[in-house]
Amino acid sequence: MTRTTLRDVVTSARSKNAGPFSVTIDLFLPDLATFEKVRASGVLSPETVGDLYRVPADQVKVHHFQPALAVKISMPRATPGGSPDDTDVAGGQQFAPLLHLGLPAAP
């Protein structure tokens, strides 16, 4: 049986700078049931996200935003936006690693 990942369930994913010092990721889910399932799974906790991006968990903020069935994840950028050592000036591709996170199998 193949593993279910966030990529299999999200309807849309995006990331963008939130000012020059933060990057913010939005994952959109298809319905309230999936939204609640992802929330309950804990897969998008500050700890798991922090491990994945190598950012301390206390710097990762996770918000569940029901009006848009979205999970928003914000963290400090690796370097201020557009600095000479930046690799993603607008932060537009920073969401991608999250898509590979596995979800627990349906009960």
Partner: protein
Amino acid sequence: MTDDRISFLCIGSIGTGFRAESLERGLSLGVDFIGADAGSVDGGPNALSGSRSSWPEQVLRRDIELLMLGAKRHGIPLLIGSCGTSGRDWGVDLFADIARKVAADSGETFTIAKIYAEVPAELVVERLESGRVHPIDPAPPYDAAAARRSVRIVGAMGAEPFQRAIAMGADVVLAGRATDTAIFAAIPLSRGFDPGLVWHAGKIAECGTACTEPRSRLDVLHIEMGRDSFVVQPLADHIRCTPFSVAAHQLHEVADPFTLVEPGWIIDMSTARYEAVSDRAVRVSGSTATPAPYTVKLEGVERVGWQHMFMFGLRDPTIIADLDAWQANIEDDIASRCAELLGAEAAGTWETHVRIYGRDGVMGARESDPRGPGHEVFVVVDVVAPDRTTCETVTAVIHYAFMHAKSPGWRGGTTVAWPFPKSTFDLGEVYRFNVHHAMEVDDPMELFRLELEEIG
């Protein structure tokens, strides 16, 4: 004044073009003002440090002319914020020049207000020393030396400078750096509309039709506000607002979707409600605003140095099989070559960044994917040095090292795959944002200089 209703048109990004027919349609509905955002920090620090506007002057002129003449014809004010991408003084002057040409060519007269937002470093130093500059998490370390290193600092103005300009009789306001929302909040606030609704509407307004679906290029958005809610809809038929698309915009470019901090206000959007009015219009209500200590967010940039870059492809499977070892080998070679050719004391005055696309070029140290690269790899190398001459010299040495980097699989070896005959590219002076702080002010106008001018 206690109007029951106010409506306005929202332009999300002057200089990227919007549909003239959408503007006409919006104006024909009878609106009270046009607001337009011209700024962004997403392109990095260069707009603030001194490069040109992000958008071509021909498109800026086209957008500004349509807006000025449309507003004039309908007798309503036009408010533009963050002129010239960064909102530095140069941007205000650029937009004022364009406005003068529009006035001269059309034979119309206008009263323009120029509001300058650059802040002297010494004022920031004084406020730092009196404990009146506060970090906005996440913030870099910031002290008097950092403020003095800044080549330019701007403050993001709130609603009050726009209100002052309108009260003084301006019909076109050309503001330097402003919070995106303040452009749209100024007039509704001065007419007594609910601050929670007003700021929430400003948040939706600031990107024009980014709150619509399907996703398409930015166009003109229409907002009509009453006493207890506002209705938002696009003016082009091929896009629509849905409760989902408008709610999703509450997430746009903010770290926290529930709280908006504006000069003098904190807005709680956690209680916002979104309801469909039709298949293309959405009613929004429920956000609340609370007065807060008046602070102005600072943006500043400091010079890092001069940057050159070069790039190439790899297809040799023996290199791709162990990129880390290949890279380490070259870095050793670079270190010894630079020490020989440039002197040991020069080491440490420059830095290089090697971005290996196929491995971790996009994510850098934040990459966690264990899969190796595919059959080819792209490499971008840059060098940052204190000045142009050092940068050229170091880049040449490093470029040569990569040109003759050994393939571990073969005796001898050739070179990597250069996509262009031009070897290295001069990226010029480079900068870094160095402040993410809010500064207390004695008066909302304190940092901003307002000049009225009759044109045409």
